[in-house]
Every structure is written in C-alpha cells, then in structure tokens.
Symmetry: C2
C-alpha cells in the first residue's frame, strides 16, 4: 500500500469510528479518546487527520451526505419514471438509516446541530433541489398534477420524510421506518397523482400500505 492509500484507509476508519462513538454516546459526551478507541487508531493518527471534535462531526455529516447522494445518483441513472425515482430515493434513504452507522450518525449530528442553532442547511437544500427537478419531470410525464407548485411540493416531501424518520426513531428506534415511508407515499400519491393515473400506480410503485 502506498502512503497516500494508507492515509485514506486510516481516515475512513476514523470516520467510521467517530460515527459509532457519536451514535453511542452523543456528540456532547464523546471524547477524541473514545473516537480513537472505536476507530482502533492512535490519538496521534487522529490529530494528523482532524483538528477537533467539530471537524470530525462535520466529516461524518459530509460522508453521510456523500453516501446518500451516491445512492440517489444510482437511482437517477436508472432512468425510471420520476415519481418512481422519488419513492425509491426515500426507500433507499430509509434503508441506509436502518443499516449504515455513518448515515445514522450523520443524521443524528445534523439534527443535533440544528437543535443548537448551528443549522446544517446544505443537505436539506441539495435534497430539495433534486426533488424539485423530479417533481417537474413527473409533472411533464403526467404522474403529478400540473397545477401543484413543484418547489412547495418538493420541500414538503423532504420535510415530511425528515419528520417520518425522526418520529420513527423516537417511537420505535427506526424499527418501523420502512413501513412509515410506505404510509407517507400512500398519502402523498393520493394527494398528487392525477385521478386518471391512480389506477396505473401499481406499475409505478409497490402497493401502498396505508389503504
């Protein structure tokens, strides 16, 4: 392994370790010693890559966002109907929230940051931008009613997904999050899909769970 490659591997291990430590202890209670322990690196290696705990938290948020964006891109690349892509993106994000410690910690840190007034706006804005584009395409494709304002609908989708995963976390530690995402889309599709397309919905999505 080259030095460069080894540094990348160490950096990735530190981010994974930091994610586990933040998720287990919360940002406030996590020390850099905890992170070094979880990452199985020396504190020297840790300080070589990151200046401070805040630095580390931002790196976890960035990595989480990169992973969600990459999964999103894979869905967009499949050239599906836009409404299908919107639903799949939410399902995939839900799946990552259940299985990927970096995504779990990144979302927790994002929440915590906004709780303290250090709002992390970027991920919300990026996601709203992607959704808005998809809503416009879905309107052209006839799967979303043309009279709805795409910007407002995109923002509502992102906001309601945010709340759905959060309330699922509080009430069931995300055990029911996939089911709640289906409920969300059952209400949303009934609200935004033109009635003449509703019969066709089964081919766009799996059967809605709510009704």
């Amino acid at each position: 392994m080259t030095l460069q490659k080894r540094a990348e591997v160490t950096r990735a291990a530190i981010i994974d370790g930091a994610a586990k430590a933040f998720e287990a202890l919360g940002y406030g209670n996590t020390s850099l010693t905890d992170v070094a322990g979880h990452a199985e690196v020396t504190k020297g290696a840790l300080y070589f890559h990151f200046k401070s705990k805040e630095d580390l938290a931002m790196a976890v948020i960035d990595e989480q966002h990169a992973r969600v964006r990459m999964a999103t891109q894979e869905i967009l690349d499949r050239d599906l109907p836009a409404l299908t892509a919107m639903v799949l993106m939410c399902r995939e994000f839900g799946h990552q929230l259940c299985t990927d410690p970096v995504v779990q910690a990144g979302i927790r840190l994002t929440l915590e940051a906004s709780a303290f007034g250090h709002a992390v706006r970027g991920p919300y804005e990026d996601w709203i931008t992607v959704m808005e584009e998809l809503v416009r395409t879905a309107q052209i494709q006839g799967d979303v009613r043309p009279e709805l304002r795409a910007s407002a609908l995109a923002r509502f989708i992102v906001a309601s997904f945010t709340g759905v995963q959060m309330v699922s976390d509080v009430l069931t530690e995300r055990e029911d999050v996939m089911e709640r995402i289906e409920d969300m889309w059952a209400v949303l599709t009934a609200g935004v899909v033109p009635s003449e397309r509703m019969a066709n919905l089964g081919t766009l999505l799996s059967p809605p769970v709510l009704s």
Copy 2:
C-alpha cells in the same frame, strides 16, 4: 400575595428565563447562572425550585407541552368538524412556535433530547392519540376516506408536521412556517378527503396555498 402564590410566580419566571437562555445558548452551553440572569432571580431561588439543569429543561418541555395542549383543548371545545379541528391545531401550534419563547425552547429541547438518544416520547404519543381520534371522527363525518388506517394517518400527520416546522426552522428560522403548514394541508387534504367532498373544502378550511 401569599407565599404560595409568590412561589408560583417565581417558578413561572424561572421557566420563562430558562426558555430564553436555552433558546439563545443551546442546552449544552447554558449555565444555571445564565438562567438566573435571564429570569432575574437569585441562584438561591433557582435551587429552591429546581435541582439541576436537566430538571429545568424537563420543566420547560412540560410547560411547552401544557401550553400546546391547552390551545388544542380550546379548539376541541369549539365542536368544529374534526378535519377543521386538525388543521386549526396545526396552525395554532405553528403560531405558538413563532411567538411563544417557551414553546420554541420546549421544541428545541425535545429535538435535542432525541438527538442524544434521551427520547422524549410523551408529547408525540399524546399528539398522535388526539389526531387518531380526530381522524376517526372525520371518517364518520365523511371528510376523510373511510379506507385509510386512522392510526397510520394520524402518525403521518404528526410526523410531517414535525418535519415541516423543523425544516422551516433550519432554512428560514421559521419565517415561512405558516405558509409551509398550508402547503402540507393542501397535499394532505387532496390525499385524504373523498373526491366528492373536495368541492366543499373551502367551507372547512381557508383556500389551499399549494395549488
């Protein structure tokens, strides 16, 4: 003023002061000296009423929840159609989030508590219970489609409201929260109100903003 009455006034002043301090500084950065300063009481008076900062934070959350519940009860007492009551409850909560420092701080602390894994479940559960009852009544009144599962819909309404106010806080410091609540209900009503009742919606609600 009796001693008892005076103690109540002091306790209320401390809760108001704590709300302002937590909202301005965040839970982690707030000291009991900050709270005493904001509340304009001595530290002795503070310790007479509250054992710790955590105690104070829980008192702010309880007081926030009591205020929201009181406003909810006033709406329920007006004996409106259930769907109207559901919309008014969200608007009233949005209004309190814009104007009442105790409600603002309570929601911030609730969020922060769940960010640290000390989930505050009670307020969510209470609100879902009230909403579920209203959904069932609205179904009997013909304003919500009878085939929807009331428990799932109630949970989605609470979750999406939670996300809507949160994302509005992150992106606009809640400047647009009232507008986003209207957008939310424009999508929800289109999704849950039977089509033959949609024409009647104007008499139940103010005109939807989204379409």
